[in-house]
């Protein structure tokens, strides 16, 4: 049983290290968000420190996998596992320091998911992973389970350990929150191409296509959940602008249409005034009486 527990640590640690690096590197603000032990570094060193940390995690994760079997057994495997223990031990100490100096900063362990302020859970998790890496030093090369019973035991131990780690990980709650969350349409970055595709697939497009004289829009703009697309057209021998308003929600969103004579003009809010004429407020401001 103890041997199984020690053996399970190597692949688990490798997955956590590689996953942690991937979660950090996959965000556009990588190295710039205010979380993780790197925030206590001077500003100019933060991004290099974040890159170095991620590279170390990736190297150790890959190293654990490479040295798990017969290849690299012995001294190389022990060195990688010892380095992993050192990384997690240093991490636990750094998180303790971070908690006292920057209580608002997250651990940054899994990038954007780790923005919750550092608590005893994150520090305990790092310390346990340090112990896990130390326990893996000296085990024989990993091999497939000899029997179904051993396979089930391995699986049970791995599941139990993952459960303990999950209980110590605020990232699980953040991940569930983000999985269940969708930004409202007015906050989504929606490419213009997607809007044009939705427009051309709509019944409104089929109804008004014969009015258009060009299929390339003259103008496109956005207001919240609506994107407006304008095409030149001709109706009853009169040149018109045909404007489609496409809602930016999901599939099947409505498309509204309007038309405007291209000769339609508008008057300025105030024409040239004589010196005796009070000047109208161009802002059309409201003012409490």
């Amino acid at each position: 049983m103890l041997a199984v527990v020690r053996e399970v640590q190597v692949p688990l640690l490798a997955v956590l290290l590689i996953g942690g690096c991937a979660a950090k590197a996959g965000h556009p603000r990588w190295g710039r968000h205010e979380s993780g032990p790197t925030v206590i570094c001077p500003l100019r060193l933060r991004r290099p420190a974040a890159i170095a940390l991620c590279a170390t995690e990736l190297a150790l994760g890959v190293g654990l996998l490479i040295t798990a079997g017969r290849v690299g057994a012995g001294a190389p495997a022990s060195a990688v596992r010892a380095a992993t223990a050192l990384l997690f031990g240093t991490g636990a100490a750094a998180l303790h320091e971070l908690r006292s100096r920057r209580p608002d900063a997250g651990c940054g362990c899994f990038g954007e998911l780790s923005r919750t302020p550092v608590s005893w859970r994150a520090i305990t998790r790092a310390a346990l992973l340090c112990v896990a890496a130390l326990s893996a030093i000296g085990i024989p090369p990993l091999r497939m389970p000899d029997s179904a019973g051993q396979a089930w035991l391995t699986l049970a131990v791995a599941t139990a350990e993952l459960g303990v780690l999950a209980a110590l990980s605020p990232e699980i709650g953040q991940a569930m929150l983000r999985l269940g969350h969708t930004d409202p349409c007015e906050l989504r970055d929606v490419p213009v191409g997607r809007t044009l595709s939705a427009l051309r697939a709509s019944a409104s497009w089929r109804d008004y296509q014969q009015v258009l004289v060009a299929t390339t829009p003259d103008d496109i703009w956005r207001e919240g959940c609506w994107r407006f697309v304008v095409f030149p057209g001709v109706l009853a021998s009169r040149p018109v602008d045909v404007v489609f308003a496409v809602h930016l929600a999901d599939r099947g969103a409505p498309v509204r249409v309007g038309m405007l004579d291209t000769d339609a003009d508008f008057a300025p809010s105030h024409e040239a005034q004589s010196p005796d004429t009070p000047i109208e407020d161009p802002l059309q401001l409201s003012n409490h009486v």
């Binding site: 007015e186 989504r188 919240g224 407020d281």
Partner: protein, 350 residues
């Protein structure tokens, strides 16, 4: 059944406040016809929300003039602008700002000024200056270099990429109390007077954020539609390449498809609906209870960096919702030396 109608709005648009502001700008700029056209096209589909702004007609016509002082007299000043020369009466009630409170007699020919004026009951045809700001300027950005009390600041504006700020010894204490870290990488926002190629900073516009530039806190996730109106702080910026009398605002959430500079995944600490340039928004000064519909005329890149509150009348929620042009800020009743007013913003999108 598909619905369509051919409309000509030449009559209706006289009453459309968004188009009023845009058409005022068109007179000023000779451009923006495209934005005015958008308002017309939008009105063919969605009902204009005029009633929300014109619920009460203005009791007093107030206006803003921008130009250069031509002449200073005992009871009047002459200002030259693109509209020609205008005369404004001054009195003991006129408040003048020239780096600090001053008398109108401190003005000199050649001083760039912005004047909030009104017609008086005694002389309806004559404009009386309520407030005059001379040489007023503001720099908001990231410090890129520091040498004693001189700083080079990146404002992230295409028309004014880096600006030089000089802090006067007399103002250094006041500024350093609010901006304790005047070092590269930190944010700065100061108001002062323009002198040639630099701004002479006399007052902080806000308190320095505790984070470095580019590290502003993330806003919470928003579930459901964005609740409008959105409250926050409204600030102002210098014209740069914009016309002096432009009525509009720079908006912190320009649609990425509009080609706005990439925000590096940073949307600021206020979640605002994406809008394109030229979109109309209803902005209200909660301190003076004045509101107006203004077009989006720029990208408020620096506004995204700040998560400060405005405390001119009560305490606003965190975040800057609008970066107004000087004329719009003053027209809504804001005082430039204050730096901000508590504001609410609503989009005109249905």
């Amino acid at each position: 059944m598909a619905w369509w109608q051919l409309q000509s709005h030449s009559g209706q648009v006289r009453r459309n406040p968004g188009i009023s502001a845009i058409s005022h700008n068109q007179r000023e700029t000779g451009g923006s016809a495209r934005f005015a056209r958008r308002a017309l096209l939008r009105a063919t589909i969605f009902e204009p929300r005029d009633h929300e702004v014109l619920a009460q007609p203005p009791a007093i016509a107030a206006s803003v003039a921008t130009g250069v002082v031509a002449e200073v007299g005992e009871d009047a000043i002459a200002v030259v602008s693109e509209q020609g020369t205008e005369s404004f009466g001054v009195s003991s009630a006129t408040e003048t700002w020239l780096g600090a409170r001053a008398s109108p007699s401190a003005l000199r020919p050649g001083d760039p000024v912005i004047v909030r004026h009104r017609a008086t009951d005694a002389a309806p045809g004559r404009k009386h200056a309520q407030r005059i700001w001379a040489r007023v300027g503001r720099v908001t950005g990231t410090i890129v270099a520091a040498d004693g009390l001189e700083f080079l600041v990146d404002t992230r504006r295409a028309d004014r990429p880096q600006q030089r700020v000089v802090v006067t010894p007399a103002s250094s204490r006041q500024i350093q109390v609010r901006f304790p870290r005047l070092a590269p990488g930190y944010l700065i926002d100061v108001i002062g007077t323009r002198h040639g190629d630099h701004l002479l900073a006399v007052a902080p516009a806000t308190a320095q954020p505790p984070y470095h530039a580019g590290h502003s806190p993330r806003p919470p996730l928003v579930g459901g539609p964005v609740s409008e109106p959105i409250s926050g702080s409204a600030v102002w910026h210098e014209p740069g390449d914009e016309p002096n009398g432009l009525l509009g605002l720079a908006y912190p959430a320009i649609d990425p498809a509009d080609g706005a500079p990439p925000a590096d995944g940073d949307t600021g600490c206020v979640r605002l609906p994406y809008l394109s340039f030229g979109a109309a928004v209803l902005i209200r000064n909660e301190c003076t209870e004045r509101a107006a519909v203004l077009p989006v005329t720029g990208d408020a890149a620096m506004a995204r960096e700040f998560c400060d509150r405005c405390v001119k009348c009560g305490t606003s929620p965190k975040g800057r919702v609008a970066d107004l042009t000087m004329a719009a800020f003053v027209g809504l009743g804001g005082n430039l030396e204050d730096g901000c007013f508590n504001a609410t913003l609503a989009t005109m999108a249905s």
